[in-house]
């Protein structure tokens, strides 16, 4: 594991992430949380929660110590889904919050996500300031009689559910027979409570939260849906199946006949539901996301804004529009933000939107899926030699001069019904290649691209 962990630490605008022990250490946590305590505006405390990873306990202790030392009162939610942490920040009008959890990464990883006032993700400018404080290591620790106090918040879940109940028609949704793969994560907390309090009919698998051995990789993609969830759909005569990552901000789904749906389809599906409801007409997504979203948008006179890959670019793009202009924002990973929830990634809300769509249309998921044309996507990666990237991108652009090029993040080239995207990963030293075509898979284009990228490695 040292081999993977040795270079796993990543400190960037989206926070701090790494394999615990070999990459991410207690010292990083203390310094980064101290920087956050120094960075935040004065306010009513900082909300902290974590996913069930075993290392979350260690990181929580460090985060709490650093925030108290900066004179911040801390409200600890214990193990809590990220959307609930964000909801609590708003509800308590807190100065900000920290979510401890590595979301869709394997159990040995962990990460810190930072939220400012109103639970919004930090803008790039704010994140850069936080990084500067972290690197300078000059923290505003307060004197002995000014230290913060820790408070444990036992019930953050119910107020969060109250907000969901105000937006969605719970009475109309609770009779759906829904199977959920919680993947040993925090979604089980919410869904169990929804069954108990509102009489929902969620059937949970992998619902016991685990600190070390997750039931399977907590990624929200088609392969993971196919693993355990999809085969249960028919035997359990379920109406729909959902899979959540460890901290419940992402979702994937299976149809009632047991077909795993591509993670790429969640965004177009929700766009199809939300665009007609208005008032927002804009869909903010990245250059790697399926062209199906463009097709769905055009059905409802919506408009797709393509930004670089990664949450930070989406956040920055959102801040350049008025909230009522936006229909939704998200990526082809099952991470979706909706204006009704003030633009936080929320897998639970995404699931409820899908169920609402089924109810309002009186249609099953299979039928809804059939209303979309088939798109086939191929994804791959090649190890990179960093200094040759610019030459590679230039060569590819020359090689495909007839398409429409977008260079906000690597190179995306679009033809009618077909596109590819070649970019450098932000999390691993690889070049990612994505290639999509309306209809059958663009195998020939994909193979060509892989070969060309390899020739630069």
């Amino acid at each position: 594991m040292a081999a993977e962990g040795a270079r796993s630490l990543r400190i960037s605008q989206v926070g701090l992430r790494g394999v615990v022990g070999s990459g991410l250490t207690a010292a990083h946590v203390l310094d980064f949380a101290s920087a956050f305590g120094t960075f935040l505006e004065p306010g009513k405390g900082v909300v902290v929660g974590r996913d069930p990873r075993a290392s979350g306990v260690m990181i929580r202790e460090g985060v709490v110590a650093a925030l108290l030392a900066c004179g911040r009162n801390v409200i600890d939610l214990g193990i809590a889904p990220t959307p609930v942490i964000q909801h609590t920040i708003r509800r308590m009008d807190a100065a900000g919050g920290i979510s401890i959890g590595a979301s869709h990464n394997a159990a040995e990883w962990n990460a810190l996500k930072f939220f400012g006032r109103n639970a919004i993700y930090l803008s790039t400018a704010e994140a850069n300031e936080l990084l500067d404080i972290y690197h300078l290591k000059k923290f505003d620790f307060v004197e002995w009689n000014q230290l913060g106090k820790l408070r444990i918040e036992e019930n953050a879940l119910d107020p969060y559910l109250d907000e969901l109940a105000a937006v969605f028609d719970f009475d109309g949704l609770r009779n759906f027979r829904v199977v959920v793969d919680c993947c040993s994560g925090t979604s089980a907390l919410i869904l169990r409570r929804m069954n108990q309090r509102f009489g929902f009919n969620f059937i949970l698998i992998n619902e016991k939260m685990q600190g070390v051995a997750f039931a399977h990789e907590p990624a929200t993609n088609r392969d993971m849906v196919a693993l355990q969830l999809a085969p249960l759909m028919k035997p359990l005569t379920a109406d729909a199946g959902f899979l959540f990552d460890a901290d419940s901000d992402r979702v994937a789904l299976a149809t009632e006949d047991g077909t795993p749906v591509s993670e790429e389809v969640i965004l177009p599906l929700l766009a199809d539901y939300l665009l007609p409801r208005g008032p927002g007409k804009l869909i903010i997504t990245n250059v790697s996301t399926t062209a199906l979203v463009d097709e769905v948008a055009s059905r409802h006179s919506g408009e797709v804004v393509r930004v670089p890959v990664g949450r930070q670019a989406a956040i920055d793009a959102l801040s350049t529009y008025r909230p009522e202009q936006i229909a939704l924002a998200g990526e082809g990973t099952g991470a979706i933000m909706m204006p009704q929830f003030r633009f936080v990634y929320d897998g639970i809300a995404s699931m409820l939107a899908v169920l609402s769509m089924m109810r309002e249309r009186g249609a099953g998921l299979c039928e809804i899926m059939r209303s979309y044309p088939k798109y086939s996507i191929l994804k791959g990666q090649v190890s990179l030699v960093t200094h040759r990237i610019p030459a590679l991108l230039a060569a590819l652009r020359e090689r495909y001069p007839d398409g429409r090029a977008n260079v906000v993040d690597g190179l995306r080239v679009d033809w009618p019904g077909r596109w590819f995207h070649v970019r450098v990963s932000q999390t691993e030293p690889v070049v990612r290649i994505i290639c999509e075509q309306r209809g059958d898979a663009p195998t020939q284009l994909y193979d060509e691209l892989v070969e060309q990228v390899r020739s630069f490695a």
Binding site: T25, S34, G62, V64, A65, L68, N110, F141
Partner: protein, 453 residues
């Protein structure tokens, strides 16, 4: 430009400093991770006194211990000796008490204990410090990270039971002593009222027993800071008064007249009580009064002297298998049959037991000790001048027998002089003792004059 004051000390005695600018959570976390690495993982007990920074530092320490692959047992606010006994009794790998003992409230520190609940010896502490500086810590992976468990109830019961095994609790309870307590709003505030009232059946009047409040007096229990409790004893016609420091290891005693007993005499009374029960020798530091020698001699026992510092006394006590020991001036009584640590609860129980046994007032019992006159003081010195000062002192008393174990101690026919550099401040600590008050004053003035020159 004045030199910036650095109120942080990282050394063989661990880490201590003013919270905020100096003692940061990151330092405490790293030190705890070094400790967790040194003890090799396993269960580590973490407790604290009532300082405002205690909660913050417990979290930082727990973070470091968990990162080193330890399981953390949080015992909450407890006296240091109680924490030490719990470590030993629960077979933990070690323990950390977050307390700066008698230092002012803006300070905090980590006291580190081994699996037996004892201070590390000097060699171990040097090893730990090297490990800290090298930052070569155990880094647990997700699968290796331990839990946090909480157990705030077991330790005090365990501690009291151990103390009661060495006194006649029934005869103490029968007397229903009228006792006063000043717990300085420290860790003793949580456990001492129950100990005196319920365990020993005393009629208790207590002040400063709110663990959520700041220290109402100087943290070190010494005569000039104990006016309120002394007044309470005198006015309330109490049989005896006790005062603790914030982490409950040190004890000061007030007699029924409201007189604060000399700490060396309190130790002498404890030594006498211990030697009446168990055969063995005594260990005290170089600055402790000769009254200890007199008491030990009366029991036909020997006294060993060590450099100042609890760890030094404990190390020698272990080596010579001593029955009792301590440090006079700072109110530390160490009775290994209970635990090899400073323990104010053993002190309280011993004194009440002697009062119950003899039926005498505490002032009467104390008055029976041989009378010595002590003068304690300090003098600032410039760096580089220490050697000259010590030489001057030695040549002023050429016929004296000398002991250089810790600074310079001169043994004279009329008494003794002990001068040593403080471990914590740029100060010389001066102690003088004689059977004659006139001689004590004379010697003390001579030393001061010598250092002023």
């Amino acid at each position: 430009m004045p030199r910036r004051e650095h109120l942080l000390k990282i050394g063989v005695s661990g880490i201590r400093g003013v919270v905020g600018e100096f003692l940061t959570p990151a330092l405490a976390c790293s030190f705890a991770q070094a400790f967790g690495t040194y003890v090799g993982g396993g269960r580590v007990v973490v407790g604290r006194d009532t300082r405002t920074s205690g909660d913050m530092l417990v979290h930082a320490v727990s973070c470091g211990l968990l990162a080193a692959g330890c399981e953390v047992v949080k015992v909450g606010i407890l006296p240091t000796p109680t924490i030490q006994m719990y470590v030993a009794a629960t077979h933990a790998q070690g323990g950390i008490a977050v307390t700066a003992s008698h230092n002012p409230p803006e300070y905090n520190a980590l006291k580190l204990f081994n699996a037996q609940g004892l201070f590390f010896n000097n060699y171990e502490r040097a090893e730990l410090l090297d490990l800290y500086h090298q930052s070569d810590f155990r880094q647990a992976t997700n699968a290796e990270i331990g839990r946090i468990v909480t157990d705030e109830q077991t330790a005090p019961k365990l501690h009291f039971r151990k103390v009661l095994a060495h006194v006649d609790a029934d005869r103490i309870r029968r007397r229903k002593f009228r006792v006063a307590l000043d717990a300085v709003n420290g860790a003793g505030a949580v456990t001492t009222p129950g100990f005196l009232r319920n365990t020993l059946g005393c009629d208790l009047e207590a002040i400063a027993i709110d663990p959520t409040k700041v220290f109402p007096r100087e943290a070190e229990p010494k005569p000039e800071t104990l006016g309120e409790i002394a007044e309470l004893v005198r006015r309330g016609h109490r049989d005896i008064g006790f005062a603790q420091d914030p982490d409950g290891d040190r004890l000061a005693v007030i007699d029924e007249t409201g007189f604060v007993l000399d700490n060396d005499d309190v130790l002498a009374l404890a030594v006498d009580a211990a030697l009446r029960r168990l055969p063995g020798d005594v260990v005290v530091n170089l600055t402790t009064s000769s009254v200890i020698d007199d008491v030990a001699r009366a029991h036909g026992r020997k006294v060993y002297r060590t450099p100042v510092g609890e760890a030094n006394v404990v190390e020698t006590m272990q080596a010579v298998n001593a029955v009792i020991g301590g440090e006079g001036s700072n109110g530390g009584i160490i009775f290994p049959a209970v635990h090899l640590c400073r323990d104010s609860y053993t002190g309280m129980a011993f004194l009440l037991d002697r009062m119950a046994e003899t039926g005498e007032k505490i002032s009467t019992i104390a008055a029976r000790l041989p009378k010595y006159f002590r003068r304690l003081g300090k003098a600032a010195f410039e760096h580089g001048r220490l050697g000259t000062l010590m030489q001057n002192l030695e040549s002023r008393f050429p016929s004296a027998e000398t002991d250089r174990t810790d600074g310079l101690k001169l043994l004279l026919p009329q008494g003794w002089i002990h001068v040593r550099a403080s471990n914590t401040e740029p100060l010389l600590r001066i102690a003088v003792e004689s059977k004659s008050e006139v001689e004590a004053d004379k010697l003390y003035q001579e030393v001061l004059a010598l250092f002023a020159a």
